[in-house]
C-alpha cells in the first residue's frame, strides 16, 4: 500500500522518501485504519443495468463477460472528518493522510473483492473512467441502496463520504487495466512521469 501512497504523493517509482515523511505515512496508515468503517456492498447480475446498454465504454469493458457485480464501498464519515481537521491543523500531514486514505480504500476494496467467490474477476471499473459519466455513480448507488452503507450524493453528483467508490466488476476472464479508458488520460501527471496510477 505504501507504494500506492507514494504514487499519489507524486514520488516517482523507486524513490524512498525521507524518514520524516515515512513516519507521517505510517502514522496516517494507523489513523486511517482506526478511523475507517470500511463497508462494501455488491449484487450479482447476469446483464448490465439498462442505462449502461448504449454506452460503448461499459460494453467494451463487459464484452465477453459471464456477468457482473455492481459494487459500492466507502471508508465512512470519520475519515472525512479527520481529513478536514488535519487540513485545519497541518497541511503537510493532511496531504499525506489524504493519499493514505485513498490508497487504503483501494486496498480494502481489492482485498474484499478477492474473497467474493468467483474465480475470474476484472478490475473495478468506476463511472468517470473514459467514456462514462461520473454521474452514473448515482444510478448504480440507487440500485444497490448504497445509502445503507452511508453513501450519499451532492446535487453535483459527488459522493459523501469523499472516500467512497461505486463501480462494476466483470465476471469471467479477460480484462486488464488500461490507461486509454481513463478520464485523466489527456492530462495525467502519472503518465507524464512515465508511470501509471495503478500497479
Amino acid at each position: 500500500m505504501i507504494h500506492q501512497v507514494l504514487k499519489y504523493l507524486g514520488y516517482p517509482d523507486g524513490t524512498v522518501p525521507d524518514a520524516a515523511v515515512m513516519n507521517q505515512i505510517e502514522k496516517a496508515c494507523q489513523e486511517v485504519a482506526q478511523a475507517s468503517n470500511f463497508q462494501y456492498i455488491y449484487a450479482q447480475y447476469e446483464a448490465c443495468p439498462d442505462f449502461m446498454k448504449d454506452i460503448p465504454a461499459y460494453q467494451h469493458y463487459l464484452s465477453g463477460a459471464d456477468g457482473l457485480l455492481l459494487c459500492a464501498t466507502t471508508l465512512g464519515v470519520q475519515v472525512d472528518r479527520l481529513l478536514k481537521r488535519h487540513q485545519m491543523n497541518d497541511m503537510t500531514y493532511a496531504v499525506i493522510f489524504d493519499a493514505v486514505a485513498s490508497a487504503y480504500l483501494e486496498q480494502q476494496a481489492d482485498l474484499f473483492e478477492r474473497k467474493i467467490p468467483f474465480k475470474h474477476k476484472g478490475f473495478r471499473f468506476c463511472p468517470g473512467y473514459g467514456g462514462t459519466a461520473l454521474t452514473d455513480s448515482r444510478q448504480i448507488a440507487a440500485i444497490l441502496h448504497a445509502e445503507k452503507i452511508g453513501i450519499t450524493f451532492l446535487d453535483s453528483g459527488l459522493m459523501v463520504p469523499l472516500k467512497s467508490m461505486v463501480g462494476i466488476v466483470r465476471l469471467g476472464g479477460g480484462s486488464r487495466k488500461n490507461c486509454a479508458d481513463c478520464v485523466a488520460f489527456p492530462n495525467c501527471a502519472f503518465r507524464l512521469k512515465g508511470t501509471t496510477c495503478w500497479k
Partner: protein, 766 residues
C-alpha cells in the same frame, strides 16, 4: 406490544416493488391495504404507514400530501384496535457540514410530513436513522408540530455504532432527554447480533425500548436479498429480549407476517421494570462524558480577557476558533466551553455557525455558554448531542428562560449559585440557591441527572476571605446534593503575582472538596498533568494507565530550541515550524524585517520550488517548507505596523459550487501565504455570488478557482461567465485534477497553471 414487519419484502413478494414504493399508495391501493391486513392478522399492535421516504428531498415532484393521506387511509382500512404510526425515514442526503443539506431545510422537510399526518395518525415512528443529527432534527420537527407520541430507532452495525459513529448509549441519552416516547434499534443485523446493542439501550434509556431486527444478514443475488434465518430462531431470541426488558418487538428487512405472528406470542407479557441509576452525562455524536472522575472543560473559546479571540469573532475568523478547539482536545480537554459574546456582534448567528462546524471538527461535547438565552437556544438547537448549558442562576426569570430550552433540547444545565442580588458571601447562602435551582429544574421536568452546580470562584486579591466559602459550598453541594460541580479555576488569581502557583494550589484544594469539572486552559500542562495525577491517585486503574501513557508521550516530545548550527533557511527547508519561529525571532533582533524576507525567506522558497520541479523533493516537503515559512512570515508581520509593507497583495481562492474537494485549494493557500500574500479563502462549494461579493469587498489581484471533477468544471465555467458579466476585472486562474490548458481556454479562464507552485510564480510575474 408488537410492531409490524418488513414492508419492502412484502412488496417484492407481490411483485410490485418500485423505485418509489410510496407511490404504490396511489397506484396499488389494494395490495398496500392487503399487506397491512396481513400484519394485523398476525397480531401486531402498531401499523406502520408506507411513507418512509415521502419527503420533499426524495420526492420533490410528487403530490406528497396525496401520497401520505392515502397511505394513512390504507393503513386504517382493515384495522381493528391497532395504532397507526406515521413512518418517517432519513432524507437520503447528508446534513451540513458533512453534506450540503442544512439543518433548517431538513427540519422543513420533516415538518411537512408531520403537519400532513398529525391529525390522521396515532403517533410517529422515526426509523432507520444512522445520523444522530438528522434524527434530532426529525424529532424536533415532530415535537414542535404535534402532541402525538413519537418512537425513534437507529441502525447500528457490527461495530456497535451507527455509520456516523454514534453508540446506542449516546442515542439513548439524547433521545431520552429530548422526550422520545420509545427508543430502539432496527434493521442492519439479525436479532442475535443485536443483543449487545439492545443491552446498551436498556442500560441507558429510561424510556421503553423497541427492537426491530432484520431476518439475519442477507446474501445478495441478482439484486435480491436472500434471507435464511428461520421463524423459530428469530422468535426465540426476541423472547429473550422481552425477558431483559424490551417492551416493543417488531421486524425489519426479510421478516413477514409469519415472523410477526411468532413474536406476537409475547404480547401482553410483563417485562421487568429496569432500575436506572442515571448519571449526569453530556455527549457529542461520538463521545459521552460522565463525571465519575475529574473532567477538564477547556476554557479557551471564551473572549473574556482574550484579545486575539475577540478580534477573530469580530472578523468572523472562525478558523481561529476551530484551531483552538483542536489544540484543547489534543491537550486533554474532555469538553469545550463555547462563548462568543462580544459586544456589537451577532452572538446568536455566530453561536449557530460555530456550533454547526464544531460538531464536525471536534469529537468533544460542548458547553454552550452565553448570558443571552437566544444564543443558548441557537447553540443547543444546532448542536449534535447532549450539550451542557452554562448557565442558569437562582433568579426565577432566568430559570423560566433557560429550563424550557434545556428540556426541549435534552441539555444538562450548569447552575450558578447566585441570583439577582449577586453572589452571596457565605457557603450556606450559595447552597440555598443551589437547592432552589435544583427544585426549579424539577418543576420544569429536568431531573437531577441533568444538573451541575458552579459555586463561583472569587478573586483572592480582592476577596480573600471568600475563597474558602467557594470551597465549602463545593463540599456541601457534593455531599448533600450529590451533583457534579464546576469552577472557573483561574479566576482566583486575577491581580495576583505568580498566578500559576495560586491556580494550581487552588485547583488541588477544590478537587479535594469535590470539584469534578475544572474550567481551565488544558494547554497549561502543569494544571492538566495535576488533574491526570489526581485521577490516577483516586485508585481507578484506567486513570493510572492514562497518567502513565501521557507521561511517556510527553517524554518523547523533542524539546524545541533554536539549534545554534541551523540557519533559518535550513529550518524552513526542512519544514521545522518551531525552529523557524525561534530563528526568525532571533534574526529580527539584529536584522530588519524586509531584508529577512528578501535575503533569506524568498531565496529559500525559490530554492525549495526549484528542487520540487527537479523532483529532488516532493509534495509533502514542499508543503511543510511552505508551512514553516508561513509561520516565519506571521512573526515578521507582527513586527510591521498594522497592514504594513509585508503585504504582497491579496488573492481570493475558492472551490466552485458543487465541489467539496478542497485539499488542492488548501495547498495553494499555504504556498501563497508562505510567499507573504494575503489569502481570502472562501472555502469549498462556493456560490458565484459569494465570490463576486469577495471581489467587491477586497479588490484582489487575482481570483483562483478550483474544481476536481469533470462534473464541477461546468460549475466553474458558469462561475467565470457570471464574474465577467458582473464586471470582474482581475485575472481568473483555474486549477484542479481534470483541467487542462485547452479546457481552461474553453471555459474562458484567464490562466491555467498545473500546480500550486506554478500558480504563485505566474502571479508574481503579473
Amino acid at each position: 406490544m408488537i410492531f409490524d414487519g418488513a414492508f419492502g419484502t412484502e412488496l417484492e413478494k407481490r411483485g410490485i416493488m418500485s423505485k418509489m414504493p410510496e407511490m404504490l399508495n396511489i397506484t396499488h391501493k389494494e395490495q398496500i391495504a392487503d399487506i397491512h391486513k396481513s400484519y394485523i392478522d398476525a397480531g401486531c399492535d402498531f401499523i406502520t404507514t408506507n411513507t418512509f421516504g415521502a419527503n420533499r428531498i426524495k420526492m420533490p415532484n410528487e403530490d406528497r400530501k396525496l401520497v401520505i393521506e392515502s397511505a394513512i387511509a390504507l393503513a386504517k382500512q382493515h384495522r381493528t384496535s391497532q395504532y397507526v404510526m406515521m413512518d418517517i425515514g432519513p432524507l437520503g442526503k447528508m446534513l451540513y457540514p458533512m453534506g450540503e443539506l442544512s439543518f433548517d431545510d431538513a427540519y422543513e422537510a420533516f415538518k411537512e410530513m408531520v403537519v400532513t399526518a398529525r391529525d390522521l395518525v396515532d403517533g410517529f415512528i422515526l426509523e432507520t436513522f444512522s445520523d444522530l443529527y438528522e434524527l434530532k432534527c426529525a424529532l424536533l420537527a415532530v415535537k414542535e408540530n404535534s402532541d402525538k407520541p413519537v418512537f425513534t430507532t437507529m441502525t447500528f452495525d457490527q461495530t456497535g455504532h451507527t455509520l456516523t459513529g454514534t453508540s446506542p448509549r449516546i442515542m439513548a441519552e439524547l433521545m431520552s432527554n429530548m422526550g422520545a416516547d420509545a427508543i430502539g434499534v432496527n434493521c442492519s443485523l439479525g436479532p442475535k447480533d443485536l443483543k449487545p446493542i439492545v443491552e446498551e439501550l436498556l442500560q441507558y434509556s429510561d424510556k421503553p425500548v423497541l427492537v426491530q431486527p432484520n431476518r439475519g444478514i442477507p446474501s445478495l443475488r441478482c439484486g435480491r436479498a436472500i434471507y435464511s434465518l428461520t421463524t423459530a430462531d428469530f422468535a426465540s431470541v426476541m423472547g429473550t429480549f422481552c425477558d431483559a426488558g424490551v417492551a416493543v418487538l417488531g421486524g425489519c428487512c426479510g421478516t413477514n407476517p409469519e415472523f410477526i405472528a411468532a413474536i406476537a406470542k409475547n404480547k401482553g407479557k410483563q417485562v421487568p421494570v429496569r432500575t436506572m441509576d442515571k448519571k449526569v452525562t453530556i455527549t457529542s455524536a461520538t463521545q459521552a462524558v460522565t463525571f465519575d472522575k475529574v473532567q477538564i472543560c477547556g476554557e479557551r473559546i471564551n473572549p473574556t480577557g482574550k484579545k486575539k479571540l475577540k478580534e477573530a469573532i469580530i472578523n468572523g475568523d472562525f478558523d481561529y476558533i476551530f484551531k483552538e478547539a483542536i489544540k484543547q482536545e489534543e491537550a486533554g480537554a474532555a469538553l469545550l466551553d463555547v462563548n462568543l459574546g462580544v459586544p456589537k456582534t451577532d452572538d446568536v448567528t455566530n453561536m449557530k455557525n460555530v456550533v454547526v462546524r464544531l460538531n464536525e471538527i471536534t469529537n468533544l461535547p460542548l458547553q454552550i455558554d452565553s448570558s443571552n438565552p437566544a444564543a443558548i437556544e441557537a447553540g443547543c438547537r444546532y448542536y449534535n448531542g447532549v450539550p451542557l448549558i452554562n448557565s442558569v442562576n437562582g433568579n426565577a426569570d432566568n430559570m423560566a428562560a433557560i429550563f424550557p430550552i434545556a428540556k426541549k433540547y435534552g441539555a444538562v444545565v450548569l447552575g450558578l449559585t447566585m441570583d439577582d442580588k449577586g453572589i452571596p458571601q457565605t457557603a450556606e447562602e450559595r447552597f440555598a440557591i443551589a437547592e432552589r435551582i435544583l427544585n426549579g429544574a424539577q418543576q420544569y421536568g429536568i431531573g437531577r441527572h441533568r444538573m451541575m452546580m458552579d459555586t463561583l470562584t472569587l478573586t483572592c486579591s480582592a476577596q480573600q476571605p471568600l475563597v474558602k466559602e467557594t470551597l465549602r459550598a463545593l463540599r456541601m453541594v457534593t455531599n448533600q446534593l450529590g451533583l457534579p460541580t464546576a469552577l472557573g479555576v483561574s479566576n482566583v488569581s486575577f491581580g495576583m503575582p505568580n498566578r500559576e502557583l495560586i491556580n494550581s494550589t487552588f485547583l488541588m484544594m477544590a478537587l479535594e472538596n469535590g470539584l469534578t469539572m475544572p474550567i481551565i486552559n488544558p494547554c497549561n500542562a502543569a494544571m492538566t498533568n495535576a488533574i491526570l495525577a489526581y485521577n490516577a491517585l483516586r485508585g481507578v486503574s484506567a486513570d493510572l494507565d492514562a497518567f502513565v501513557n501521557n507521561a511517556v508521550a510527553q517524554e518523547n516530545v523533542p524539546t524545541v530550541s533554536a539549534s545554534k548550527q541551523m540557519t533559518l533557511g535550513e529550518a524552513v527547508r526542512r519544514g521545522l515550524k518551531e525552529e523557524s519561529v525561534a530563528l526568525t525571532m532571533e534574526a529580527l533582533e539584529s536584522q530588519d524585517p524586509m531584508s529577512l524576507i528578501n535575503e533569506t525567506l524568498i531565496p529559500t522558497l525559490n530554492e525549495v520550488g526549484s528542487d520540487f520541479e527537479k523532483q529532488k523533493i516532493f509534495l509533502p516537503q514542499l508543503i511543510s517548507a511552505s508551512e514553516a515559512c508561513k509561520e516565519a512570515f506571521a512573526i515578521i508581520k507582527s513586527k510591521f505596523a498594522q497592514g504594513g509593507a509585508s503585504q504582497k497583495g491579496l488573492v481570493v481562492l475558492a472551490t466552485v459550487k458543487g465541489d467539496v474537494h478542497d485539499i488542492g485549494k488548501n495547498i495553494v493557500k499555504v504556498i501563497f501565504e508562505s510567499y507573504g500574500y494575503k489569502v481570502v479563502d472562501l472555502g469549498k462549494d462556493t456560490a458565484k455570488e459569494t465570490i463576486l461579493e469577495a471581489y467587491n469587498q477586497y479588490q484582489p489581484m487575482i481570483i483562483g478557482l478550483s474544481a476536481l471533477m469533470t462534473t464541477t468544471v461546468l460549475s466553474m465555467e458558469e462561475t467565470i461567465a457570471f464574474l465577467k458579466e458582473q464586471g470582474v476585472k482581475c485575472p481568473i486562474f483555474v486549477g484542479g485534477a481534470v483541467l487542462t490548458q485547452q479546457l481552461a481556454k474553453e471555459i474562458k479562464a484567464d490562466y491555467y497553471t498545473k500546480d500550486a507552485l506554478e500558480f504563485v510564480e505566474t502571479v508574481a510575474k503579473l
